[in-house]
Point group: C2
Chain length 322, copies 2
Amino acid sequence: MTRDVALGGNALDRRGEPITAAVQRRNVELAAEALAPLLDSDEPLVITHGNGPQVGLLMLESEADTAVGAYPLDVLGAETEGMIGYMLEQALIRRSPHARFATLLTQTVVSAVDPAMRKPTKPVGPVYDTVTAHRLAEQRGFSIAPDTGGWRRVVPSPEPIRILEQDAVRVLLDNGTTVITAGGGGVPVVIDDQGRPMGIEGVVDKDLTAVVLALAVGADSLLLLTDVDGVYRDFSGPRPEKIEHLSARTARSLIAGGAVGRGSMGPKLEAAARFADRGGTAVIAALDQMAGALAGLSGTTVAPDGSHSIFDLERYRTAGAR
Amino acid sequence: MTRDVALGGNALDRRGEPITAAVQRRNVELAAEALAPLLDSDEPLVITHGNGPQVGLLMLESEADTAVGAYPLDVLGAETEGMIGYMLEQALIRRSPHARFATLLTQTVVSAVDPAMRKPTKPVGPVYDTVTAHRLAEQRGFSIAPDTGGWRRVVPSPEPIRILEQDAVRVLLDNGTTVITAGGGGVPVVIDDQGRPMGIEGVVDKDLTAVVLALAVGADSLLLLTDVDGVYRDFSGPRPEKIEHLSARTARSLIAGGAVGRGSMGPKLEAAARFADRGGTAVIAALDQMAGALAGLSGTTVAPDGSHSIFDLERYRTAGAR
């Protein structure tokens, strides 16, 4: 009866805003407020979150420190888990002083022979001009790719296999503790033949990590919260059409047909379909319309094939109304 | 039967070395190697650690980012908990791939009316020249104090009262998980009359936090590991004399008499005495001589008044010999 809530990076940050401490604190407060109906129920949650803007900030600051030298992406990712986890946990305790919370650092196991490892596609950090981008490519071995307004570093985005700390997450949940974890998808690590982890400079998709974690802890539902209120057919076209309910199979045919467009919704729908494939129910919804999503009035539900229940609405309504 | 191991900042960093990622990784590997005898026993540990150099690094980098603006000390402290926790956890798993580890973010409750709150004494961050220091004092309200070679920002160092996440630490320990936590003493927070925490710009002494945590989780021994192999009478004088065993009462009279000198040993001895006051046994030892400390050949033991056992050596020898 555990729920896994994945907060998209966009749910924590408005695009284009400078990512000051005050801006982050406000966004985290809004997220905590939106999550309040879930926190007021007795079921502990697993809360995961993005870290794109935050890791970009620390990457820029670390690169500018020529006296000490830039830190690798895995360590910067771990720093953002501390930064965001702290702000989010504190905001959640402020809303629910009597509930239990913990923030757990997460390492996500990926395969050293994942095809994505040889094909860096995920942009990270700032937009560089052409000269800087090519200098970094030469001096630091970065892979770079053209992006809006310039160039960005791109890193591999391999598939998450398991979370090194997933037993700890489960133990805390069993104790009634809401766990903030797998921030930014967790720090990706490869495991050598003696079982020893080593961080890599890559990014695991946070929604796919949330699915791995949800399955590992036996979560029965997965809420993927972002800044869009669900999945749309033809989202960028002249007549976007909101989809209220999808089976895993239909979700996959939408993804294959390219009907949901590119951008961040593709991975979210893929994550929802994977979770539904394994018998869970996923909801993709806007963070600021979560009350509506819990009432079945907003968001897109992705349920296992052949499932007739569109969502366990009654339980959520009850939780939300407390 | 849980042990609490506090790693001094000096156990993780050589003074004067630039704190690059490679330097940190090496120091963390050395710490993991030194802790191996403890990890090979079946008892889970609580491992706490300092963060002085790391928070100084992030503070400098954040202050240099004039586009976004400096982050407050509480958030930077949380970042270092992620950074150091990740590197240390990974190094420990590399030594003991089959043991369980978790890194937990920690908020340490302090009192808003702690006398230390009005008397900032703890230096943090870089050494500034006179002009910069006074500009920061004016523009950002920093308290500053003269330090070797210039000025440093000073912040309050209030007493730790409890750890917000101490139940989570205990639950993980009960599950056989070694927990890395309370990094840098934990992020200090004050609690308002509605139970809501708010971070403050201060630093809690990491060894005093380790005592609070050790007592909360029922640890029976506390190892305070640093770069000195124990407590010396007249440490900086012409004839320093190593002390092998102290009762809590004798420890307090040494502190009161100023016989152990200033610097970092005072707080360590105070921490050891507090733990012994509550019935536990503390050992202050050098990280790289821990095998000797476990064999009773190195370090200083602080035991409860009237205790005849200088330390539960046999158990440690057994653990170390496995």
